[in-house]
């Protein structure tokens, strides 16, 4: 009986894990393909954000991106059309890093991969999303700590 319950639980978990992020994975793949983002080999974290929305959430996220822009395990995708906002938010070296991408077609926002109100982090292993977290004013510190821990453990 105990084994049967364990088996059912295991089966449920294994069925749900890929499906949980099925929609998100499809959209992220579309973005990766559109902007030629290659990240299938190692574990990666994608930080996605729109250019409007919660100012304090953006402040935290911009600071994190600036401080970590030279980390190749991180990819930053900025969804929006405004060149002015990008220039106002980020330094010239950050904007020109290889892991800094501009989603000018706003695929991430349009398909609701990232909320309009706040940024979002996606955690991947071998190109597959295994976790995600919204970045809000209240939890930004803990999410970025989680990002660092995730990358250390890879």
């Amino acid at each position: 009986m105990k084994n049967t319950i364990l088996f059912i639980l295991f089966a449920l978990i294994s069925c749900n894990t890929p499906k949980r992020f099925e929609k998100e994975q499809k959209i992220l793949n579309e973005i990766k393909s559109k902007y030629k983002i290659d990240s299938n080999d190692s574990s990666k974290v994608f930080i996605l954000t729109g250019l409007d929305g919660c100012g304090a959430c953006m402040d935290y996220t911009v600071k994190f991106i600036e401080e970590n822009s030279n980390n190749p395990d991180l990819n930053f995708i900025l969804s929006g059309q405004s060149h002015v906002k990008i220039k106002a938010l980020f330094s010239y070296p950050t904007i020109h890093r290889k892991n800094f991408f501009r989603d000018t077609l706003q695929i991430a926002l349009r398909k609701e991969l990232v909320p309009k109100k706040n940024p979002k982090a996606f955690f991947c292993k071998s190109g597959t999303i295994i976790d995600s977290k919204d970045i809000t004013y209240q939890n930004a510190d803990s999410v970025f700590h989680y990002v660092n821990q995730f990358l250390i453990k890879k």
Partner: protein
């Protein structure tokens, strides 16, 4: 027989009145470009053309991105000066939201979320700051009074040592007091720093609330304009067909019909509308987005926005609305209405001596475009 004659007489009188009013329409004439620097987002700006005759050709722009105050030559569209306003410190002005230029030594900057108004001199130093918070027993009382909005269509006015600002009540729109008692404008006496709440929502709002309806957050902003010669502050509420004329001397309001030919019966949201549904609901509703007094031509322009049926989502490049401009004379008689192209969706109006200008949507981020229009007699 008597009734018949009376009816004919009344009818003829009414017709004569209508015939005496000259009707107008609007014709678009030419574009004016304001060249922006690379760190100014044209849609994150607040701007005014100074009313002061000495500053006639100076166009003031507050840029939300870098908190800067920029002055342009209105004739050439070229920048003359730019100063980044500090947010903190002795000359800090917080997040500068909107401005009013009395003279170069009296530039008033509103920081709405701080409930503060700052007076700057020509060197952009803070000369004085004023609190817009409700006071109780000599201390600021948070959660009461009015939120002073810095929306472009809600102009700050100046009349006899008082500044006038619009906003919405700091009361939940689910409570009757929001419609019955909540303030939509205030005056700030620059001599004694005292604020006084002046106007409320129109009576029709209370009636609709009692029928189980509410206005949602996007519909709460009043638009303010001023006819100083007649000592009037004129208010347009977003879902009321009437204009409110507030007498600045005796502090009373009168309401005048200034609706659109399109729709004057607004469907309000039900009390249980969810936060998620609000935006979708708002995009399907017509509303009045602003009123502007033209002191050169002695008319009011009221902008009516109806939903654009071609708009599918926020990313399709279609404007949200199709606007029209209602023209009203100083006696608050409607003298015309013209539908304008959808490039002017969510537009605002600048009143200049040579004529009024409409803000035009252009995708380029390096300029602001305004189109001069003309009132044409029909």
């Amino acid at each position: 027989m008597f009734i018949l004659i009376s009816t004919i007489l009344i009818f003829s009188c009414t017709n004569n009145n209508n015939l005496n009013i000259t009707k107008f329409k609007i014709e678009l004439i030419s574009d004016k470009l304001i060249s922006l620097d690379s760190l100014t987002d044209p849609w994150q700006t607040s701007f005014i053309l100074s009313d002061d005759t000495h500053l006639q050709n100076q166009f003031f722009v507050l840029s939300g991105i870098d908190n800067s105050l920029q002055i342009y030559d209105w004739k050439t569209g070229k920048i003359q000066s730019k100063k980044i306003l500090p947010k903190e410190g002795p000359n800090g002005v917080g997040d500068a939201g909107s401005l009013m230029v009395k003279s170069l030594d009296s530039i008033f900057v509103l920081s709405d979320f701080q409930f503060k108004l700052y007076q700057l001199d020509r060197n952009y130093n803070v000369v004085k700051s004023y609190s817009l918070l409700e006071m109780e027993g000599g201390k600021p009382s948070y959660g009461k009074g009015m939120f002073p909005t810095s929306k472009r269509f809600c102009k700050i006015g100046f009349f006899e040592n008082k500044l006038y600002l619009g906003g919405y009540p700091l009361i939940s729109a689910l409570k009757e007091d929001f419609y019955l008692k909540g303030a939509t404008s205030l005056s700030l006496n620059l001599k004694n720093n005292k604020i006084k709440y002046l106007t409320k929502f129109p009576p029709s709002y209370v009636k609709r609330f009692r029928q189980g309806k509410i206005i949602i957050s996007q519909q709460t902003y009043p638009s303010l304009t001023y006819n100083y010669a007649k000592k009037q502050m004129v208010i347009s509420h977003m879902t009321d067909e009437n204009l409110e004329a507030f007498d600045l001397s005796n502090e009373t309001s009168n309401y005048y019909f200034a609706g659109s030919n399109e729709q004057n019966d607004f469907t309000w949201a039900s009390k249980n509308i969810s936060e998620k549904e609000e935006f979708k609901y708002f995009t399907k509703q017509p509303y009045f987005s602003g009123v502007y007094y033209d002191n050169y031509r002695k008319v009011y322009y009221r902008i009516f926005e109806k939903p654009n049926p071609a708009k599918v989502d926020g990313y399709d490049g279609e404007p949200w609305t199709i606007p029209s401009i209602i023209i009203i004379n100083e006696n608050f008689e409607k003298i015309g209405e013209t539908e304008i192209p959808k490039e002017y969706s969510l537009t605002s109006i600048i009143i200049a001596k040579e004529g009024p200008y409409l803000r035009k949507y252009v995708p380029d981020e390096d300029k602001m475009v305004f189109t001069l229009f003309e009132l044409v007699k029909l």
